[in-house]
Chain length 312, copies 2
Amino acid sequence: MRIVSLAGGIGGARFLRGLKAAAPGSDITVIGNTGDDITLFGLRVCPDLDTVMYTLGGGIDEEQGWGRVGESHVVKEELAAYGMEPQWFGLGDRDFATHIVRSQMLAAGYPLSQVTQALCDRWQPGVRLLPMSDDRTETHVVISDENGRRAVHFQEWWVRLRASVPAEQISLVGADEAVPAPGVLEAIGAADVVILPPSNPVVSIGTILQIPGIRAAVEDKTVVGVSPIIGGAPVRGMADACLTAIGVETSAQAVLELYGSRLVDGWLVAEEDKGVALDGVTVEARPLLMNSPEATRDIAAAALALAHTLRA
Amino acid sequence: MRIVSLAGGIGGARFLRGLKAAAPGSDITVIGNTGDDITLFGLRVCPDLDTVMYTLGGGIDEEQGWGRVGESHVVKEELAAYGMEPQWFGLGDRDFATHIVRSQMLAAGYPLSQVTQALCDRWQPGVRLLPMSDDRTETHVVISDENGRRAVHFQEWWVRLRASVPAEQISLVGADEAVPAPGVLEAIGAADVVILPPSNPVVSIGTILQIPGIRAAVEDKTVVGVSPIIGGAPVRGMADACLTAIGVETSAQAVLELYGSRLVDGWLVAEEDKGVALDGVTVEARPLLMNSPEATRDIAAAALALAHTLRA
């Protein structure tokens, strides 16, 4: 079976681990969000791609959900001793090496997709990991605080401010001119099913769908999504702050409507959300908490089973 | 007293520590060799400047003579896990931070002299540390080995090959077009005395003197040099391999002749080299082993005392 999954960071990566377990032997292509990417200390950091790569490659800090297991922070402390900013973004020493390799390859002229492939040569994530685009796009968030109304990089809002200041607007700078990375449209076109994990519907899945051509390609396929909202709250992270910013309620129903029936054919919700419904979409209620590898595998298996039914 | 000292790496840095102790309250400007600089993993590494900065700033690994005390090597191991080359250059995690700061500032358009000053803001070396030039120059070494006759970067010959393959030629690529960094000629012009520490006469002091304008400026001053050769062998390092490459004998006499009487006014040699002589140069024999901070301070004091006599 040929599966394509869009993915953000922690939630997406954990779901993908379940998907691999649920569909052994399948050909899985992951299209990763790069709107969160940021240049820190002159190095290009791709948090979502790395979280997927480390999680599927066995290098993730399981407890934290991001970054490397057994991590140390000597470089970061030294940069702070030099007075370098920002100090609010947690880069570990092992992680730094990844960014150094990436930055060197980018500077040498390799596109991000080839760089990602080179990094995955080491990690062997067991999926084909593609950035949504080789073009640089960046999610910016408009906020108002003591410094006035201004746009900040997504990471500054998300990590430094912990989304505590309301987002007035969220936009993907550079989206209009970006094109999907090589292989993205081909993988979607060849897919038997496209899965939307319970990643952030605004700044992860929503971002990927903003790259011209990707949404249309996905709409042509059998698509099953897993609700990132359970009983009115995000499973993890601060998806509510992002949904509020774009005027969408934090509910499994509202996220389904946001995606729409042109995009989604099947929708998995938690049991407490079993009333969710949308014309043209098959909704199934089941446990959605990814609180163990087995539970996560079962959720992915249910998504695939639903897709199978829909294609029949 | 206004003192200018040219300097290479380990030997120069240790001598400078003695010089600071011998001349408290003096205004010391150090002109550092940058011919050894190398770009590794996309980061600009300035081994000699850093060795001086760390040594005088209290951050050096005393035993090793270079690199940071209490160093770890996580980043290097991770880069090796990605298959990145070269693996023969020992960069520690603390040291990486220095190169990250430097590279980011260089990329932002700051000249190396300003970058060095910014790094020294943290280290407070107690001297004014200037790179010989803000222009990029690189010492290349012509060797013949199983891969044929070719030029390699100085560091590849020095660190990877440990100077075990004879150097057929040593040249500073880019020297002709380089200009002294801001403040270099001014500091030499204003100096009461110029000191040449027992640094490598070919690839450290010799390199600095190749930047157009520096040699002439130094020749105008009272210059005292400390022989880097004691009884036919280098005090430290592999100066003999460098001297052989340029057809100069490894002796205190030959190095003095290499510098010449136009450049040097006073020359300190070890007691076993007391026969050394050159017209127009005052030679003094005394213990030259820098085997303790006190011994090193006394050597520097002797150099300053000789300079004082020569100026009287």
